[in-house]
């Protein structure tokens, strides 16, 4: 394999909770092959689960629909994009958790931002949300 090239893997996943575990196994395989250490693999697993959970919860809730995931890897990083086709959300409305009044929801994006090196949330009203997150194989840049 040419190390300089970028590899792209595309998945289309049913909007069903039972597939989030399958995605965790898939991303563990991809990250392991790229040489991530165990701690970073755990971070990626949690982050992608949160993104999938968001897609399933806030995307179009029809089970016959799918959402999509792209894994773009090169020798130094893994870029994961999770796209749903829901209503979109206002990413600037997401606040860090308040301990005095912990809420039962809204932790997902906060967790993704904490665990990944770069996170972009692209939300187009009516066209769904894309969560794009990057993890570097080596030390954080």
């Amino acid at each position: 394999m040419n190390n300089k090239s970028k590899d792209l893997i595309k998945l289309s996943v049913p909007n069903k909770p039972e597939y989030v575990g399958v995605i965790r196994l898939t991303v563990t395989g991809i990250a392991n092959r790229m040489g991530f250490d165990i701690e970073k693999m755990e971070d990626i697993k949690v982050a992608i689960s949160e993104a999938c959970t968001n897609a399933i919860t806030h995307g179009i809730c029809q089970e016959e629909n799918n959402f999509s995931i792209e894994f773009l890897s090169d020798e130094e990083k893994l870029v994961i994009s999770v796209s749903d086709n829901g209503k979109g959300c206002l990413s600037q409305n997401i606040k860090p958790p308040v301990l005095e009044d912990p809420r039962e929801g809204g932790l997902g994006v906060f967790i993704i931002r904490s665990l990944m090196d770069e996170v972009e949330i692209l939300s187009n009203n009516g066209k769904g949300t894309i969560i794009k997150m990057t993890k570097y194989v080596g030390d954080d840049i």
């Binding site: 909770p17 575990g21 697993k45 959970t53 399933i56 039962e104 665990l115």
Partner: protein, 105 residues
């Protein structure tokens, strides 16, 4: 991968003991929530969670735990974690939830 839940009530210490084995995510969080609701209906006492075999939990699972803790706090009761794995400890740290749950061992 699924979630197995084992619970029993300890009359002596007046606490619930619950063992979680597997993964808590959007697929299994509902089952966990139902279990907790039944437990609290029966007895509203502190819950000790043995997390030695809990491999994974995400925000949906943490959300369930926060909801249960809120109900327990009305009676000054707590959620206590035992044998927690490093990956889950990290998640509790970054969310600040390590300050509202009691973490032992």
């Amino acid at each position: 991968m699924s979630l197995m839940i084992n619970k029993n009530y300890d009359e002596v210490s007046k606490t619930w003991k619950i063992q979680l084995d597997g993964e808590v995510d959007i697929y299994t969080a509902g089952k966990l929530k139902e279990t907790f609701i039944k437990m609290l209906e029966e007895k509203k006492e502190s819950i000790k969670i043995d997390a030695g075999k809990l491999e994974y939990i995400d925000s949906t699972g943490l959300g369930v735990l926060i909801g249960v803790l809120k109900k327990l706090k009305e009676e000054n009761k707590n959620i206590i974690f035992l044998n927690i794995k490093p990956n889950i400890k990290k998640l509790l740290n970054i969310t600040g939830l390590d300050k509202i749950f009691i973490i032992e061992g």
